[in-house]
C-alpha cells in the first residue's frame, strides 16, 4: 500500500507483528520487574501514609481509586490513538492494540467504580450516588463494554477493527460533551484536588504515595497491554493457520 509511507519510519519498523513479538518478548521481563518494584514502593508508602483527619482510614482507598480512574481515561486515549492508526494507516498492529486495550480499560474502570463505591459507603452513607463524576465514569464503562461487544460480534478482524475504530473516535469526541452535560445535570462530587492551577491542595504525605501508585498502575497497564497484544497476535496466527488447514484438507484429496 502506498499510504504506509505516511507513517513515521520507526513506527513502520516496529509495527511488523513478528518484530513486535520479538521486541516485546525482550522488554516484558523488565516491564514486569519495574511494575513490581513500583507497586512494592507504592504499597509500602500507602500503608504508612497518615490517616485523613476527616475521612480516617478510608482515605487509603484513594491510592487505588485515583490511579484506576486515571488509567480508565488514559486507556481510552490510547485506544483513540490506535483507532487513528487503524483508520489512517490501516495498520494491523493498531487494530490489535485497540482490541487488547478495551478489556483492560473496562477492568480498570470497573475497579475505579467499585473502589469509589466502597469509599462512598462510609462517606455518603450509600453505595452509589448519581453524582457527575461517578456517572461519567459509569458511562465510560458502558462505552467500553459496547466496544468489546462490537469487536466480538464480527468474525473478520480487519472489518471489526475498522468499525470499532470509528466508534472509539466518535466516543472520544463525545467524552467532553458527556462530561459537560453530566456536570450540568448534577454536581455533588468534590472538586478536583490534584490537578489545579494553584498547585495541589492535597497534603504531600498523601500525594507522594498517590503519585508512586499512579506510576505503578501505569506500568501495570502497559505490561498487561503488551501481553494482551501478544496473545491477540498469536490468536490471529492460530486463526490464519486454521483457515490454511481447512484449505489444505480440501485440496489434498
Amino acid at each position: 500500500m502506498s499510504d504506509v509511507s505516511i507513517s513515521p519510519g520507526w513506527l513502520t519498523r516496529l509495527a511488523n507483528p513478528s518484530r513486535f513479538l520479538e521486541l516485546s518478548g525482550r522488554i516484558l521481563p523488565w516491564l514486569w520487574a519495574a511494575t513490581l518494584a513500583a507497586f512494592a514502593a507504592g504499597l509500602v508508602m500507602s500503608f504508612n501514609a497518615p490517616e485523613d483527619y476527616q475521612q480516617g482510614i478510608t482515605v487509603s482507598i484513594m491510592f487505588i481509586h485515583v490511579p484506576a480512574a486515571w488509567l480508565a481515561m488514559m486507556c481510552y486515549s490510547l485506544m483513540a490513538v490506535s483507532a487513528i492508526g487503524t483508520l489512517v494507516w490501516r495498520h494491523p498492529l493498531a487494530d490489535v492494540s485497540a482490541k487488547a486495550a478495551a478489556p483492560i480499560g473496562a477492568v480498570f474502570t470497573f475497579l475505579a467504580l467499585v473502589t469509589g463505591s466502597l469509599w462512598g459507603r462510609p462517606m455518603w452513607g450509600t453505595w452509589w450516588v448519581w453524582d457527575a463524576r461517578l456517572t461519567s465514569v459509569f458511562v465510560l464503562f458502558l462505552m467500553y463494554l459496547g466496544l468489546i461487544a462490537l469487536n466480538r460480534a464480527m468474525d473478520e478482524p480487519g472489518r471489526a477493527a475498522r468499525a470499532t475504530a470509528v466508534l472509539i473516535l466518535v466516543g472520544f469526541v463525545n467524552i467532553p460533551i458527556i462530561k459537560f452535560s453530566v456536570n450540568w445535570w448534577n454536581t455533588l462530587h468534590q472538586p478536583a484536588s490534584v490537578m489545579r492551577l494553584d498547585g495541589p491542595t492535597i497534603h504531600p504525605s498523601l500525594l507522594y504515595p498517590l503519585l508512586v501508585m499512579a506510576v505503578a498502575f501505569t506500568l501495570l497497564f502497559f505490561t498487561l497491554h503488551m501481553m494482551a497484544m501478544r496473545n491477540e497476535i498469536w490468536r490471529r496466527r492460530v486463526q490464519t493457520m486454521r483457515h490454511r488447514a481447512a484449505r489444505a484438507i480440501g485440496s489434498g484429496q
Partner: protein
C-alpha cells in the same frame, strides 16, 4: 434434547453470541433512567423495582427474533420441523428454555448490581431478583410464539417486540407488584408472586404449543 440445549447454549455464548448483549442492554437502559428522572436517591429507590422490571422486559425481547430465524437461515429449521408435533413442542420448549438460560438468567444475576445503582435496599433488591427469576421465563416462552409467527419476515425483530409486549403485560404487573409488596408492609408478597409463577407455568405450556403450530404453518 440435551444435545439441542447444549448446542443453543454454546452458540449463544460463543464469540459474537447474543447472551452478553441482553445484559449490556439491560445495564444501559436502567443506567440512563436517572438521567431522565434526576439523581434524587429516594425517588430512584422508590421507582427502582419498576424500572428494573421494565428494563429486564425490554432486554428479554431483544434477541427473541433470532430464536428460530437463525435456524431457518441455515436450514436447521427444516430438520427440526420434520418431527411429530409432540416432539416439536418439546423441541420448541427446549429452545426457549436455552434462550432464557443464555440471555434471561444473566439479567437476573446482574439485577442486584443495578439495584445498588438505584439505591434500592437489600430486601427490595432480593425481591426483584426473585420475581425476575420467576417471571422472565414467561417472556421467553410467550416470546417463542412471537418469534415463530415472524420467523419468515426479513425485519421481524421490531415486529416480535410489538407482538409480545402486550402479551407480557401481566408478567410485568405481577412481577412489579410482588416486588413492591415485599417492602411495603400491609401488602402480602405471596399472592402476586404465586400468580406470577402461575403465569410462567401457563406460558411454558401454551407458548411452545402455539409456536410449534405457527412454525408448521409457516413452513414453505
Amino acid at each position: 434434547m440435551m444435545a439441542l440445549f447444549r448446542r443453543d447454549l454454546a452458540i449463544a455464548t460463543r464469540s459474537g453470541g447474543a447472551a452478553m448483549l441482553a445484559v449490556l442492554f439491560f445495564l444501559a437502559v436502567v443506567a440512563v433512567a436517572p438521567f431522565g428522572i434526576g439523581p434524587d436517591l429516594n425517588l430512584l429507590a422508590r421507582i427502582g423495582p419498576a424500572f428494573l422490571w421494565i428494563g429486564a422486559l425490554l432486554a428479554s425481547l431483544l434477541g427473541l427474533d433470532r430464536l428460530f430465524q437463525a435456524d431457518r437461515e441455515d436450514g436447521s429449521l427444516d430438520l427440526i420441523l420434520m418431527q411429530e408435533t409432540p416432539d416439536l413442542i418439546l423441541t420448541v420448549f427446549v429452545k426457549s428454555f436455552a434462550h432464557w438460560v443464555a440471555s434471561g438468567l444473566p439479567l437476573v444475576l446482574v439485577s442486584p448490581l443495578l439495584g445498588l445503582l438505584m439505591n434500592m435496599g437489600l430486601e427490595s433488591t432480593g425481591a426483584v431478583m426473585l420475581t425476575l427469576l420467576a417471571g422472565t421465563p414467561a417472556i421467553a416462552f410467550i416470546g417463542a410464539t412471537g418469534a415463530a409467527v415472524a420467523v419468515a419476515l426479513p425485519r421481524g425483530g421490531l415486529l416480535v417486540s410489538i407482538l409480545i409486549l402486550p402479551l407480557a403485560i401481566p408478567v410485568l404487573i405481577f412481577g412489579v407488584s410482588a416486588s413492591y409488596a415485599a417492602v411495603t408492609d400491609p401488602d402480602p408478597f405471596w399472592p402476586p408472586f404465586m400468580i406470577l409463577s402461575a403465569i410462567t407455568l401457563f406460558f411454558a405450556a401454551l407458548g411452545p404449543v402455539a409456536a410449534a403450530v405457527a412454525l408448521k404453518a409457516a413452513a414453505d
